[in-house]
């Protein structure tokens, strides 16, 4: 097969608002996949529900367009059945940090070899502007007219402290860096979270491009990606409204599938059928 091109991945024209950060994320993702020499038949996407999940029709590939919050367990199932396929979750902040928050924590613990790309715009776009779990305290929205009482969830420190082996943060305004980050996350063997800061131009008038441009900064070359304590400190900088970009943390640890003897030789899908039923029946005599 000839090398794939960005066009192979290009599906329907997006229905996102002009200026939405999702555009940048889609373009970066397609570039990353093409640069990794993957074509749409060699990758599985699992989309959540939200503006981010609507990417299902704009991006070609084998895919599940899942329920709100449930993309991660679907992805784990795909990977268990066929660990040769790269499995990428596309989810939103409400999707992944609210409705499906429990799955995120446990997928990180298990070091399931999936890449979770979260569109973090700190608001619910598709349902027209309610507060998201990543919204800043006090954020006024349709569901919190007097301002949200809760403090924001911290996705980076949450997955870090629960065993994630790759934690990255990108900004939808910095395309070149985003392509590199997504590629590295897909290449990582183990659970990877890429939290992508993106403005919602329609419903979030606080966390705008200007807001992020003034507060994001790139981790430099001397930053020690394998230093857990340092990564934890970086993950807490959001409390001072500072946003480090790049690979915050990276470690090698056997993946969930690596720890299963059943998968040592072949994928679950390719294995021969077990037929020694007598062996099992004997336990009941």
């Amino acid at each position: 097969m000839t090398q794939s091109s960005i066009n192979d991945f290009t599906g329907y024209s997006p229905t996102w608002c002009p200026g939405c950060g999702d555009w940048g994320i889609l373009t970066a993702l397609k570039q990353a996949l093409t640069q990794l020499n993957l074509d749409p038949s060699q990758v599985v996407f699992v989309f959540g529900i939200g503006c981010s999940g609507n990417m299902n029709d704009f991006l070609n590939g084998y895919a599940i367009h899942s329920l709100h919050g449930r993309a991660i367990p679907n992805a784990i199932g795909v990977k268990l059945a066929n660990h040769k396929l790269p499995v990428i979750v596309i989810a939103g902040d409400g999707d992944c940090y609210g409705e499906g928050g429990n799955h995120l924590i446990h997928a990180a613990r298990g070091n399931h070899d999936i890449t979770v790309i979260v569109h973090d715009n700190r608001v619910y776009g598709l349902t027209t502007g309610q507060v998201a779990p990543t919204a800043q305290k006090g954020f006024k929205s349709k569901s919190t007219p007097s301002g949200i009482i809760e403090v924001s969830v911290n996705p980076l420190s949450t997955v870090l402290t629960n065993g994630a082996t790759f934690v990255g943060q990108g900004f939808s305004g910095y395309m070149v860096d985003l392509v590199l980050l997504i590629k590295e996350a897909i290449n990582h063997k183990g659970f990877s979270l890429v939290n992508i800061l993106q403005p919602c131009v329609t419903f979030n008038k606080i966390n705008t491009y200007q807001y992020y441009l003034q507060r994001v900064y790139k981790l430099d070359e001397v930053y020690e990606q394998s230093n857990f304590q340092l990564a934890l400190e970086k993950s807490l900088e959001i409390n001072q409204e500072k946003f480090p970009l790049g690979v915050i943390y990276k470690e090698d640890r056997p993946t969930f599938n690596d720890s299963l003897n059943q998968l040592k030789e072949k994928t679950l899908l390719e294995k021969d059928r077990f037929k020694n039923f007598e062996l099992l029946e004997n336990e009941f005599i």
Partner: protein, 579 residues
């Protein structure tokens, strides 16, 4: 004719469940049929645990109420169970614990003394009393000694020897002191080899035969032993067993794996099933095959976790928002569990939709003996049918310049079923979409394709009814005026009731439903006759199958026998209502 019930009971946490199963296996290996059931509270320590084994020399299908041999590990056991004893019943007990004033056949065994003399653990009381029981029943102690050898082999020779010594102590004590009381109820005789299986065991074994490669579950009584059994086999079978964070993750992991091309199943009880419901709907619209094992227990909410009920039938049938096909099967015993489990995996693949196997605590956790050759026959007759799955993993794209194409995963078809391609096949892609979709899986909100997809999914029901739906099985006398209608685990109990009535020259019929949903109105209406008296029998308080039958077929059964105290029916209590 041999037909007796042996029961051991005592405080929870002292190995009663394990020793009860040993007794069942001894009886089975000695050539008899068994049916056992357990009682236990939702506790780890304390409370009353009981294991009751009915033994016969002919095939049997349920418990009987009265106890013939009661092994009391404490006084409480005696007090709770003496109402089920007759003057011919034996009671094995320890005089040091309590005295028995009533006129039963007393076998006083110095349990405490032997355990103290042997410096043995309190768990050894079970071994001692089984040894004593075997002597009393005229069984062969060698059968038990061999079983001990197998069960403790991993713990070493010393443990085996010690257990065997304790078993012999009980055996010899009865031989030496109660030789006048010994009966010949457990004489070893040659018989066909049998398996001692619970409904859960049967589901587990059949799942392996059906080539299920992922089982995913969160522990919940009474389905938990499926998880434990399949997990204990995974290194042998190559299956993956996942116990994730919650039942939502359980079902979505299975849906992901099934999408990727393998057979996958989940297991749970009512509470966990409730959490899965939204995702059942996901499997419905994405047309993903899935087998769901639902072991019912009394609800609502936490209900009575370790007891039995058939209270989730209507819930199972209606589980999931929106309209999509779903198949619900309810086995009546371990043999049907095996058969229907094998079938369920095929149906899930053929119709690309969720198939629910509905069990209950009584079927899930009671052991029944079944001839091994019956199971072996079911295994050798089984053909895996994966329906319209396209499994050309090894096919290469012929033209290297071939443009990658979208695959028509939801192609409109006459039977409602579309071809399903295993993801990863080169040159194609498609999405399994939770939104309404076009034939290639892309989202749509247009009127015509929506209508077409709804109708396509609905046609699967029509196809199922014409190709795979099975009418209920009929048992008894076709001319009988009195006809029972029931489903699931009541089967064996009703068969016993019919037997007892036959002895009194009362003829009855019995329609046993196991293909519960969807129901074929035309076929079912034709088997119900105007001149008969139908009695609906269900282990719930609403008569849920009766409601379903009325809704689907218009047949209304007014006479109902319902039980909803957390216990299965006993044949005797049904007979009292009838005679």
């Amino acid at each position: 004719m041999i037909d007796f019930t042996w029961k051991i009971a005592g405080e929870a946490g002292f190995g009663i469940m394990t020793s009860g199963l040993s007794f069942s296996k001894i009886a089975s290996r000695s050539g008899y049929y068994i049916f056992d059931s357990i009682e236990y509270p939702s506790l780890i320590r304390g409370g009353h645990n009981a294991y009751q084994v009915r033994v016969t020399d002919k095939k049997l299908s349920c418990q009987k109420e009265m106890i013939d041999v009661l092994v009391c590990l404490n006084k409480d056991t005696y007090e709770k169970n003496k109402q089920f004893l007759t003057e011919n019943s034996f009671v094995i007990y320890d005089k040091e614990d309590f005295e028995i004033k009533e006129n039963f056949k007393k076998i006083a065994l110095p349990i405490k003394k032997v355990i103290n003399d042997f410096k043995a653990s309190i768990l050894m009381r079970n071994t001692l009393t089984i040894g004593a029981s075997l002597a009393l029943l005229g069984g062969e102690i060698e059968v038990f000694l061999k079983l001990i050898g197998e069960e403790f082999a991993k713990k070493g020779e010393q443990v085996v020897d010690f257990n065997q010594k304790t078993a012999l102590a009980g055996y010899n004590y009865v031989k030496d002191n109660y030789s006048d009381k010994i009966v010949n109820w457990l004489d070893k005789k040659s018989a066909k080899e049998k398996l001692v299986l619970t409904g859960n065991d049967s589901f587990s074994l059949a799942s392996i035969v059906a080539d299920c490669r992922l089982y995913c579950a969160y522990p919940m009584t009474p389905s938990s032993s499926v998880l434990a059994t399949l997990a204990s086999w995974q290194e042998k079978t190559g299956m993956i067993v996942r116990h994730p964070e919650d039942e939502i993750s359980v079902i979505n992991t299975a849906i992901g794996a099934s999408f990727a091309g393998i057979r996958a199943a989940v297991g749970t009880s009512g509470g966990g099933f409730s959490l899965m419901v939204e995702s059942i709907s996901l499997a419905g619209i994405t047309e993903t095959p899935l087998v769901i094992f639902l072991g019912q227990r009394p609800g609502p909410a936490t209900g009575m976790p370790t007891w039995t009920e058939q209270g989730d039938l209507l819930f199972a049938i209606h589980a999931g928002h929106g309209e999509f096909p779903k198949i619900v099967l309810a086995p009546g015993d371990v043999e049907e569990m095996f058969e229907l489990t094998l079938k369920a995996y095929n149906l899930a693949d053929i119709y690309q939709t969720p198939v629910i196997i509905i069990s209950d605590m009584y079927l899930s956790e009671s052991h029944q003996s079944i001839e091994k050759e019956l199971i072996d026959k079911l295994i050798s007759d089984y053909q895996i049918d994966r329906g319209k799955l396209i499994n050309n993993l090894k096919t290469k794209v012929e033209n290297s310049n071939l443009k990658i194409k979208s695959f028509l995963r939801y192609q409109i078809s006459n039977d409602g079923i579309s071809p399903r391609l295993i993801p990863g096949v080169k040159g194609y892609y498609y999405q399994a979409n939770s939104y309404e979709h076009l034939e290639d899986g892309h989202t749509t909100e247009e009127s015509l394709p929506r209508k077409q997809q709804v109708e396509k999914r609905n046609r699967k029901i029509t196809t199922y009814l014409s190709k795979d739906f099975q009418l209920p099985k009929f048992y008894g006398d076709e001319n009988a005026e009195l006809v029972f209608v029931s489903w699931g685990s009541n089967k064996g109990i009703i068969l016993e009731v019919q037997k007892k009535l036959r002895e009194k020259n009362i003829k009855t019929g019995f329609w046993h439903f196991s293909y519960l949903y969807p129901l074929d109105k035309k076929k079912i209406v034709s088997i119900f006759k105007k001149d008969k008296k139908y009695i609906l029998l269900e282990n719930n308080s609403w008569g849920q199958f009766g409601k379903l039958l009325a809704a689907e077929t218009g047949i209304v059964i007014n006479d109902k026998i319902l039980k909803y105290d957390g216990r299965q029916f006993m044949p005797e209590e049904i007979l009292i209502k009838l005679i």
